[in-house]
């Protein structure tokens, strides 16, 4: 953890998204943490360019769920209602033994962390954008972590892993994110 902290880059604006998300009108009730996180995931996908061979640019965005928790369930519902640039999301739950073939993005439940570690190298090669709520996810092999820090959800991006996966993340997003430039130290 201490090593991780040293790997953090001080620069990078911290994106603190609490209440007034673009999806909510001002008079709507305050959205809960899961809803905000789902919106963040959709917006992150907007700022991401997937590996060329894996993304046919026109078809649905294929997002796989590794493990199934409260966030996964809400995400599944939210994504189907929010296409990006006219491309709908195609959500697939991975079973225990299923390989993440054909996935462009993978949401990892905090409970499936061990399984993720097993397949993380394969995901790297396949150019899959990996996302998790886990506080250490971006520091330990994942690309985007969305932990709660204080009262806000922080966007953590590991640029090294992203580059290794062949994924390009817009500098506009990086302006808001906490950028990690160190290879995962497991």
């Amino acid at each position: 953890m201490r090593a991780n902290r040293s790997a953090l880059r001080a620069g990078g604006a911290i994106a603190l998204i609490a209440m007034s998300l673009s999806l909510c009108a001002a008079q709507e009730p305050i959205p809960d943490e899961y809803q905000v996180r789902a919106a963040i995931i959709v917006n992150i996908v907007r700022f991401v360019t997937f590996k060329q061979n894996g993304d046919d640019l026109r078809g649905p965005i294929r997002l796989c769920l590794l493990g199934y928790d409260q966030q996964s369930a809400l995400l599944e519902g939210y994504l189907s209602a929010h296409p990006v640039d006219g491309r709908p999301f195609q959500v697939r739950r991975l079973s225990n033994s299923e390989r993440p073939e054909g996935c462009q993005a993978l949401y990892v439940s905090p409970g499936e962390r061990r399984r993720f570690d097993e397949i993380s190298e394969a995901l790297l090669g396949a150019g899959v954008l990996t996302i998790s709520d886990d506080r250490t996810f971006a520091f330990s092999g994942g690309i985007v972590g969305l932990p709660v820090v204080g009262e806000r959800i922080e966007i953590q991006v590991n640029l090294v892993r992203a580059e290794q996966s062949g994924i390009v993340i817009s500098s506009r997003l990086l302006g808001l994110a906490k950028v990690i430039r160190k290879v995962a130290n497991r």
Binding site: I17, S20, A26, R46, R172
Partner: protein
């Protein structure tokens, strides 16, 4: 207005005012044009720069607005502190909610409603700009900017003040320069004007203007001097001509005086001559009248006694004495006729003849006259013809008229032999008056043109030889004509030598 101001000034002031006005108005125009150009440039640049700022803000705030990150948006908004012209900036999210506000100190913190289109609009104090924020063709919000125009107004005012100062200085400078430079134009003209006024005041045409340059003023001065030379030449000529004229008038007056005096002398002598002639004529007429009267008295005695002696001799049967006495009687009667004629013409010329006018019919006179003349005509073997085409009353002295007519007829008988004497009486018209006309025509010797002119003069016959042949004083025609004209009539003559003569008597006809 300027021209009215300038009209009353001297030429120096005119030149200064004109050049100053020209320079000043050129400067004002140039200043206005430059100011307008600058203002347009400034406004365009302001719009461009402001749009650029809005564009950059929009680009920078894409992520912040996408993630509705108010802190990030506020941070971006606060970078506007570096640009003092921006009075206010608002960032709107995708649902048009205000995400961040920047305001310069002292500005109110309210934002207008969001506008998803590009707008650049001027208000009196601000330039308002809306710029949409889009990402991957999706609008995620918009940016609103309020640019303060105080700087622009400040620039305008500064420009105006500087322009006014420059204009004043330049105008003063132009005045200074023009008042120096105008001398090159005004001085020759003023010099010319002063010479001209000296000339017109004093009448000295020998004055000349000094030429200082070769331009139009120089030419003007040359021409002025030429003109003065010509005028002074003409002046001299005029004087000379005047002197000559006076001399000639004097001479002519003198000669006229002499001429007038001569003419007066001639006139006087003519008047004297006329008086002398009139006196002589009157004396002659008086003499002739007296003489005739004096002659008639003894002649009557001679005629009376001759008749008595002739009767006595006839009774005594002394035929020799009868024929002698008849000769004396005939000669005496002829002499009496001559004396009577002389007496008549003298009375007429002396104006002493009294006419006894009465109204008589032409036929009465004609009848008497023809009866008297008939034997006379027969004497020379002539035939007398009478033709009466018309007649009428006239007012004449019967004796005198008959005497005139008889004279004409007896002349015709006298100068015609074995021919025809015709008397024609007719009415005629001369002008407006009715006349009675007697034509006495003969087939006698006739009278030449030159002789006709002398014929009515006293004591003249066609030639002196005829006087001797035919007898008579030559007074008959003259007396007849004068008598007729005294009674308002006339006697005219038409004749051709060898063919005959026609004497025509006209007398005015009167009503009964």
């Amino acid at each position: 207005m300027i021209s009215r101001f300038v009209r009353g000034r001297r030429i120096r002031a005119k030149l200064v005012v004109l050049s100053t006005v020209v320079a000043g108005s050129a400067l004002v125009l140039a200043g206005i044009a430059f100011w307008a150009y600058q203002s347009i440039l400034y406004v365009e640049a302001l719009k461009r720069e402001s749009s650029t700022i809005a564009q950059m803000l929009a680009d920078n705030s894409i992520a912040a607005l996408t993630f509705s990150d108010k802190a990030a948006a506020t941070e971006i908004a606060n970078t506007l502190r570096a640009e003092p012209r921006v009075a206010k900036a608002c960032f709107f999210g995708s649902s048009d909610a205000v995400m961040a506000i920047y305001r310069r100190s002292g500005e109110p913190g309210d934002c207008p409603p969001a506008n998803p289109h590009v707008v650049a609009r001027f208000t009196p104090h601000h330039l308002l700009i809306f710029h949409p924020v889009s990402f991957n063709a999706e609008t995620v919000g918009s940016v609103y900017l309020e640019i303060d125009l105080a700087e622009m107004y400040g620039m305008w005012i500064r420009f105006g003040i500087i322009s006014a100062i420059v204009l004043c200085m330049a105008t003063l400078f132009a005045m200074g320069i023009s008042s120096k430079l105008q001398r090159t134009i005004s001085e020759p003209i003023l010099h010319l004007a002063s010479i001209a006024s000296q000339v017109s005041g004093s009448g000295h045409y020998s004055l000349r203007a000094l030429k200082t340059s070769d331009d139009e003023t120089g030419q003007l001065i040359d021409q002025f001097n030429d003109m003065m030379a010509k005028i002074s030449e003409r002046d001299k000529e005029l004087k000379r001509a005047q002197d000559e004229l006076e001399l000639r008038v004097e001479e002519r007056t003198q000669s006229l005086r002499v001429e007038i005096a001569e003419r007066k002398a001639v006139e006087q002598s003519l008047v004297n001559a006329k008086l002398a002639a009139e006196e002589a004529n009157a004396a002659k007429s008086g003499f002739l009248a007296n003489m005739s009267h004096e002659l008639r008295t003894p002649l009557n005695a001679i005629l009376g006694y001759s008749e008595m002696l002739e009767e006595d001799a006839r009774a005594a049967g002394n035929t020799t004495a009868v024929s002698d006495l008849q000769r004396i009687l005939f000669a005496g009667r002829h002499l009496l006729n001559l004396v009577n004629d002389v007496l008549d013409i003298s009375k007429i010329e002396a104006g002493a003849l009294q006419l006894h006018l009465e109204t008589v019919h032409s036929n009465d006179i004609t009848r008497e006259v023809v009866a008297t003349v008939e034997p006379l005509a027969r004497n020379n073997g002539n035939r007398l013809e009478l033709r009466v085409d018309g007649g009428g009353f006239m007012r004449v002295d019967v004796l005198k008229f008959r005497q005139s007519l008889l004279n004409l007829l007896s002349n015709a008988c006298k100068f015609t032999s074995n021919g025809t004497i015709s008397l024609t009486v007719a009415r005629s018209v001369q002008g407006d008056s009715k006349m009675l006309r007697w034509d006495v025509r003969d087939t006698g010797v006739g009278i030449s043109e030159t002789d006709m002119k002398r014929l009515f003069q006293p004591f003249s016959q066609v030639d002196s030889s005829s006087t001797r042949r035919h007898g008579g004083t030559g007074l008959g025609l003259a007396i007849s004509q004068r008598l007729c004209s005294m009674m308002g009539g006339s006697i005219t003559l038409a004749s051709a030598p060898g063919v005959g003569s026609t004497f025509t008597v006209h007398m005015p006809a009167v009503d009964q």
